[in-house]
C-alpha cells in the first residue's frame, strides 16, 4: 500500500508539473512564433522565454526522485 502511494505521489509530482510546464510553454511558444514572423532576430530571446518554465518540471522530477529514493519505492 505504502509503495503504491509513494509511486502515485511521485507520478503526480512529475505529471502535474509537466502539465503546468506544457501549458506555459505552449502559450509562450505561440506568442513567440507570432513575434518571429515580424522580427526573426528575436529568436534568441524567444528560446530563453520558452525555456524558463521548464524549471517547474525539473523540480517535479527532483521531488519524484526524492520520494522514490527516500520512500524505498525506486
Amino acid at each position: 500500500m505504502e509503495t503504491g502511494l509513494i509511486a502515485l505521489g511521485a507520478g503526480l509530482a512529475i505529471g502535474i508539473t509537466a502539465i503546468a510546464t506544457s501549458i506555459a510553454q505552449s502559450r509562450i511558444g505561440t506568442a513567440g512564433v507570432g513575434a518571429l514572423t515580424e522580427k526573426p532576430e528575436l529568436i534568441g530571446s524567444i528560446i530563453i522565454l520558452v525555456a524558463i518554465p521548464e524549471t517547474m518540471v525539473i523540480l517535479g522530477f527532483a521531488v519524484a526522485a526524492m520520494m522514490l529514493i527516500g520512500g524505498g519505492g525506486g
Binding site: 529568436i43 534568441g44 530571446s45 528560446i47 530563453i48 525555456a51 524558463i52 521548464e54 524549471t55 525539473i58 523540480l59 522530477f61 527532483a62 526522485a65 526524492m66 522514490l68 529514493i69 525506486g74
Partner: protein, 633 residues
Amino acid sequence: MILEMTRVQIVGIRGDLQRAVRKLHQIGTLQIDNIHNIPDAPIQEFSINPETQKGQEDSRYLITQIQGLIQTLGCEQAAPADSLSDIAPREIRAQINTLSPRVQELNLARRELESEQEILPRYITTLKKLLPMVPDSANQPGNATIGVLIDVSHINTLDWISKRVLEITRSKAEFVAASVDENTQAMMIVCPRAYASEIETLLGQKDVSQLNLPAEFSHLPPQRSLEALNQRLETIPLEIEEIERRFEELAAEWCPKLNHWLLMLEDTLDEVEVLSRFGETEHTFIIYGWVPARDYEALKSSLEAEIGSRIFVSALEMTPETRKLAPVAMENTRLVRPFERLVRLRAVPLYEDIDPSGLMALFLPVFFGMMLGDIGYGAVLLVLCLALGRRMQSGFLSDILKILRIGAVWSMVFGALYGEAFGTLGEALGLRPIWMDRASPENMMGLILSFVAVGAIHTMLGLVLGIWQAAVHHNRSHLLERGGMLVGLVGLFLLTGTLANLLPKSLTSPSIAVIIVGVVLLGTSMGKAGIVVGPIEFVGVIGNILSYMRIAAIGLASVYLAKVANDLGGMLGNLVVGALVAVLIHALNLAMGAFSPTIHSMRLHYVEFFRKFYEGGGRPYTPFRSHSSPDSR
C-alpha cells in the same frame, strides 16, 4: 575571440570616387557606416545624380531577368566563368534579349506537352468505354460524332437531349451511352455532319460538357481517334526529352556567363547603393567605417597605391560612445567556429563582451555527452555525422553536424563511464561502468547531486566572468549584483557542507553570515526595491543551479527507453522480429537523443550561463565586399 576594430575616415576627391569605391569593394574589409548615424559628421549626405539612379534601376531589372533565366535553366550550382571579361550592362541586356525568347519558347513547348500528357489519358479512357458500343455509321465519312459528358445527378438531361437531337435530325441520329466513372455518364451522338453545329449549339445552351478532342483528332472516326491518341501519347515523352536536351545545351553554353554577369551586376549595384552612406562637400567625398585593426594598414596602402596622394585614410580615436557602435567580428579556430552560429542565435556579442563561443565549444558537447552517455549511440551518431558532413561544406546544418560530431565523441566517453552501449545491452556484453550505472535506482541521488555540482561550477564560472566584465567596464551595479550572487552561493555551499557533515559545525554561523552578506550586496545593486527583489533573485540563482538536474533527467529517459527496446526485443521470442523491434525503438531513441540533449545543452548555456556575464545586442561585422570574393560565397 572578438577582433579589435579601428574606426576609419577616408577623404578623397570626387573625381576618384568610382575607383575608390571599386577598390574598397575588392579589398572587402571595410564596413561602411551610414552618414546619417554619425552625429559628429559636419558634412551633408552624398547625392546621387538621376543618371546613376536610372542605371541602378536598369541593373536591378537585369538582375531579376538573369535570376529568372538561371532558375529556368537550373544554373544555381554552376560556377561563374572566371575568364570572362566584364562588359557593359547594355551589352548584357542585348545578349539576354537573344537568349530569353529561346528559353521562353522551350518552356512554353514543354508546358504544352506536359499538359497534353496529362489530358490525353482521360480522352482515351472515355473513348475506350464508348467504343465497343459505337455503331458502324460513325465510321461513314458523311457522319459526325459528338461526345457528351454529364454528371450522374443530371442523368435525366440525357433523355431530353436525345429527344431534341431526334427532332433536329429528323430521327437520323443514333445514340450510345456508358458510365465513365462513378460520377460521370457519357453519351455519343452519331448524326449527319450537316446537323453537327446545330446540336453543338443546343448542348452549349444547356451548359452540357462536350467531349472535345484536340482539333487534330476531332474530325476522325472514334476508332481512328483512339489509335491516333495512343500514338500521340507515346511520342510526347520523346518530344519532352528533346526539349530537355536543348535546355541542357543552352545551360552548358550560358550558365557560366549568366552567373558571371549576375555577380558583376550585383557588385555594380552595391557600388551605387553604397554611395548613399557617404558624405560630401563641394569637391570631396567622405567615408566613415570600421575595419579590423590588423587590416587597417593593408587597407590604407592599397587605397593609396590605387589613388595616390589624392586620398587620405586616417584612423580615428575611439571614444567610449563610438566603442559601443563598433561592429563585432568574431574569429575562432576551426573547432570553435561552428559554435559562433549558436552564440549569434542568442545575440551578437557587444564589442566589449567576452566571446562565449570558446566556452560553449568546451561545455556544450560535454553536457551533450553527459545526457546521451552511450557508446553505441555515440558511435552511430559519429558515423552519421561524418557521412552527412561530407555532402555539406558550409551552412547551418554543416555547423550543427560538426557540433554533433564532438558531442558524439563525448557520448562515447560518458558511455564508458556509465557502462552503457545501446542501453543495457552493454551490460549483457560484459561492459562494466567505470563511474556509475545510471540505470540503477541506488545511484539516482548521486547522479542528480553530481549534475547539480556541475551546474554550481558552471554557474559560478559565469558569475566570475561577469564580475571580471563588470570590473573592466567599471559597472558598479553589475559588480555588486554578480559579486553578491557569488558570495551568497559560496555561503550556501558552506552551509550545505556543514549540514551534510562534510565541514565542521562551527562553520554554520559564518556560512549563514556569508549568505546574508551576499544577498545584501545583491539587493544593494537593485536600489530601493532590492530589499524584496534581492532575496528573490538569489532564489532564482539557486533555481538556475537546480536546472542542471535536467542532465540527469534526460539521460535517464534515454536509458530507460533503451532498456525498453532491449527488453521488448528479447520478450518477442523470435530473433529476427525481436531484433527489428529493438532496432526501431533504438533508432527513435537515437533521433530524440540527438535532438533533445542539443536543445537542453543550448538552453543551459543561454539561460543559466550567459545571463551571468553576457549582454549581447551588438551589430555584426558586414564588410563592403565583392560578391565574387570567396569569403562572400
